[in-house]
């Protein structure tokens, strides 16, 4: 701690100035939003049916997405961290790709793959009668596509830094592989797991581009909060402002609630 303080005293004012500009850049849009928010209409707008529908759909889909990301993402992270196999770098690059890709492109890709005429979608339709576009399932798929890499890469980093001796000891004491994974590995990476889950969940909650492209935009079925916000911009800018505020409040309160786990891990230098 004392070391940190000494560094701080030595910092040149120029750096502080430039960093302050960066802070102002991030802070001012929120202030701008608060400034334009029509507070008197807050309860009126929040209790509207289409807003409630969008909020509920967003909560549902982003939670389902988080669960799916956990179920599929953790094993994938484990594989990437622990098993040296051909194509590992390719998979890692694939994860990064879908993280940096504009979500609209992800949506188009999903449409051409899982759509009714898509590479896989055409068989889903003709064999099982499953049509994904314009359904809530498509919303979850779009969210998973953009959100899962956040969980995978966070958990993978944690697994790689983990001291494997604990697991080895557990194995020598007779624990099965599955038991060791559940009772030793997972608990030791719990903070990163939480961080990854929160990141993925937040990303899913804010998903717009892939959702509107792949799942469309129908109130109650595929219109999540960001889509409702966008739709309201034209017809009712006040609703759009309130909706934006609502989303910020939700995301912020979750981050606050988890801040101990969150900060606990960043101080140890794990990539977040």
């Amino acid at each position: 701690m004392s070391q940190v303080r000494r560094h701080r005293q030595k910092l040149p004012w120029q750096i502080i100035l430039i960093a302050s500009i960066a802070v102002a850049f991030f802070l001012s849009p929120f202030i701008g939003l608060l400034w334009r928010t029509p507070w008197s209409k807050f309860t009126d707008i929040v209790t509207r049916r289409e807003i409630r529908d969008a909020l509920w759909l967003s909560v549902q889909t982003s939670l389902i997405t988080s669960i799916v990301c956990f179920v599929f993402g953790v094993p994938l992270a484990w594989l990437l961290a622990r098993v040296d196999f051909r194509g590992r770098r390719f998979i890692r690059a694939l994860m990064t790709l879908s993280m940096v890709l504009p979500p609209v492109i992800g949506g188009i890709a999903l449409l051409f793959t899982f759509g009714r005429r898509g590479l896989i979608g055409q068989y889903l339709d003709s064999w099982f009668g499953i049509r994904l576009p314009f359904t809530t399932t498509a919303v979850v798929m779009a969210q998973c596509f953009v959100a899962m890499p956040f969980l995978v890469l966070t958990v993978e980093a944690a697994l790689r830094q983990l001291d494997t001796r604990f697991e080895d000891v557990a194995r020598t004491l007779g624990g099965s592989r599955w038991y060791v994974f559940r009772r030793v590995t997972l608990p030791s990476i719990k903070p990163s797991l939480f961080a990854g889950l929160v990141l993925a969940w937040a990303r899913a909650l804010g998903e717009f581009g892939a959702t509107i492209t792949f799942a469309g935009n129908l109130p109650g079925t595929t219109q999540t909060m960001p889509l409702a916000t966008y739709a309201a911009l034209d017809s009712n800018p006040e609703s759009a402002l309130i909706l934006s505020l609502l989303m910020i409040a939700i995301a912020f309160s979750i981050l606050i609630a988890l801040r101990d786990r969150w900060l606990g891990r960043t101080e140890q230098g794990l990539p977040l």
């Binding site: 040149p12 120029q14 750096i15 430039i18 449409l111 051409f112 759509g115 009714r116 005429r117 576009p133 314009f134 509107i212 492209t213 469309g216 935009n217 129908l218 595929t222 219109q223 739709a231 911009l233 034209d234 017809s235």
Partner: protein
């Protein structure tokens, strides 16, 4: 010493960035920013190329999107020189904010068609056929011109349809119908022409159809009003009108 070097490292990219941006200004090109309804994409891009050829040193830059989005951008102070809307309502919004230099001019018209997948596999022949609830029918938000026109058509025909999605703009309807993800939508005749056989158009009887009027205007804050007037004059010239009519637009 360390402080000064760190300062230089931080400032270098900023300086470089400034250099890059000012570089494009020192060259003698003038950029004309044209905000146009997405249905105007193809004819406007062609008109832009022809205009650039006739005016060396001019770069025509398009911002294509839903007229409602563009009207909002202009209202928020986006650097537009020209705004071309697919309906009067969104032009009125801009005009009511005193953002137009002169009253807008109607330069093209359009009408609506039902768009279906190539070959019309579901054999959709009339507005009535769209009421089938198994059908995936998509439109846009009612603030986007095509969405409002679609609502008008249904009202005139006395039918009610629950769309399966409210897309961003008319191009998105085209993409999904052409790709077979949606069964039908209602779009401008010019879109069906532009798709060049990738989709089929089904006529809507004139009793239920609408006449979409496209107004164009010069933004009052523009620094290039002379050039903007030149571009509009080009659209109204025989060459400009030929481009518009080739792409399915009606002329007044």
């Amino acid at each position: 010493m360390f402080g000064r070097r760190a300062f230089a490292v931080v400032l270098a990219p900023i300086a470089l960035f400034t250099a890059c941006t000012s570089d494009s200004n020192t060259q003698e090109t003038t950029t004309l920013n044209v905000y146009a309804a997405s249905s105007l994409a193809t004819p406007f891009e062609l008109a832009g190329l022809a205009f650039e050829k006739a005016h060396p040193g001019v770069n025509v830059q398009f911002n294509l999107g839903a007229s409602s989005d563009l009207a909002r951008f202009v209202e928020e102070g986006a650097p537009a020189d020209i705004f071309a809307s697919a309906d009067i309502a969104n032009m009125d919004k801009v005009e009511s904010e005193d953002l137009l230099d002169t009253p807008p001019i109607i330069f093209a018209t359009n009408y609506l068609e039902i768009v279906v997948e190539k070959g019309n596999p579901l054999n959709i022949l009339s507005l009535q056929d769209l009421t089938n609830s198994d059908l995936i029918f998509i439109t846009t938000n009612p603030d986007v011109p095509i969405g409002r026109y679609t609502t008008e058509v249904f009202k005139k025909a006395g039918i009610t349809i629950a769309p399966d999605s409210f897309e961003n703009n008319v191009k998105s309807i085209m993409l999904k119908v052409a790709g077979g993800e949606a069964d039908a939508g209602i779009v401008y005749h010019s879109e069906v022409v532009a798709a060049d056989g990738e989709v089929d158009g089904v006529e809507i009887p004139s009793d239920f159809n609408i006449l979409a009027e496209y107004p164009i205007g010069i933004i009052s804050t523009s620094d290039n009003k002379e050039l903007a007037r030149g571009f509009i004059d080009f659209l109204l010239s025989p060459d400009g009108r030929a481009i518009l009519s080739q792409h399915g637009f009606g002329l007044l």
